[in-house]
Symmetry: none
Subunit: 139 residues, 4 copies
């Protein structure tokens, strides 16, 4: 997998790494159980401090997305959320409430809003389909 950093954007490096790895995992670009680039490798490739990569990996591990074992590397764990379904729905519900209030201020009604959701979802799936797993690697 390939990670790119945009230093101009305000986003911190470690967050950009996390996002891209999450996205790659969601896309199926990285298979379950497969190893990620090593900390040292990724740090060199991106020309950033190893601490920054380590921080990103650490947070991914604490989210249960990857697991690391000394001397072996870092691996993608099987996708599964730690929350029960009603908790998940409650979390999504809060995001949705904010979305609805914003849509209301923008004078956009329900049917239009749902149209937008469907449209965005389709584009998400389309991009997902276009990425074949395990394509890119450098160094």
């Amino acid at each position: 997998m390939l990670v790119k950093l945009n230093f101009k954007a305000g986003k911190p490096a470690y967050l950009q790494i996390i996002e891209q790895i999450k996205f790659a995992a969601a896309m199926g670009e990285i298979a379950e159980g497969e190893s990620l680039p090593s900390i040292r490798e990724l740090a060199e490739q991106l020309r950033i401090n190893r601490n920054t990569v380590a921080k990103a990996y650490g947070l991914l591990q604490s989210e249960g997305i990857v697991s690391s074992s000394q001397g072996k590397g870092v691996f993608l764990v099987k996708a599964q959320t730690p929350y029960k379904k009603n908790v998940r729905k409650a979390i999504l519900g809060e995001i949705i409430d904010g979305l609805i209030v914003q849509a209301h201020h923008f004078q956009i009604d329900l049917s239009e809003l749902i149209g937008l959701v469907e449209q965005r979802f389709e584009q998400f799936e389309k991009e997902k389909g276009m990425i074949s797993p395990e394509v890119e690697r450098r160094n």
Copy 2:
């Protein structure tokens, strides 16, 4: 109108104020042109510094939701967004993208997600109907 702060939550006070005023405005709890609680008043009621309220009001003003004038007060402006439709859709689109990624991590598919949106929307409308404007509590 009534604002409540939850100090336990990580969310900063000024953001909680913004959200609740936006919500109250969307609900029709505050009529257009009507004045919001004065900065001092709300600050005392919430037992926080005036500047924190002032910051919230200032941001609401920069979003075009309220307008303030020295010596007079802060007023809810006529609901009308300054953005063109495509801009509004783009802003909502970003929120939706975040929602979709989160839903994906939670293994919730499109139909279920849209069901959630509809359900939340209905509840929003129901609550909105229950609030008759101009029913103010006093302190």
Copy 3:
């Protein structure tokens, strides 16, 4: 003379009054020794509080531009600055320094800058010529 207030602009009312009276005086619209509208009169005309007009007149008086005497009214005093020439030049010099630094950041050189000054000055004189003294009065 006619004073107009723009409530939308951020500028406070009393400053708008001061500016317009100064400008009218510089333009010769008000003759030396002539009386200005009374505080009560101007306040009614502009539909603002008399304190606001009084504040404006008070500041004009402290700048030595008008003089007031109880029961008679407020009069424009003979134009003359209280400062000696070198002091005046020093004050202008500071404004000019700021102008030069700004022009430098804008990559505008001396000749262009002086062209701008001349152009603006001519327009100033033109507007001044167009106003005949003692034209407008209301009520």
Copy 4:
């Protein structure tokens, strides 16, 4: 580079910092891409709160004069204004209008005013020539 604060003057500290840094930048005292004193450093040196310096730097950033990145520092960006020529002239025009009105109140005519501008400009260029870049004082 050296910043001095004049607490007696009515001007707020953050504005004094902005002016002096703009001046130093225009003088070539700070080279392009070079880092400014860190927020903490300057705050200690001036014996003011870090936030006051941060505010000054933040405004300089929003003017496009410096750029900052967390954990690294604040840097002078390549001199290049983001505005088109007519916009720049309009901005300078407003400053010039104020200058002309002030000069008028001081009974100083155009030729004298332009003489002052030229004189100040020459002094600006002379001082600029005297400062060789990269000559830094330390504390």
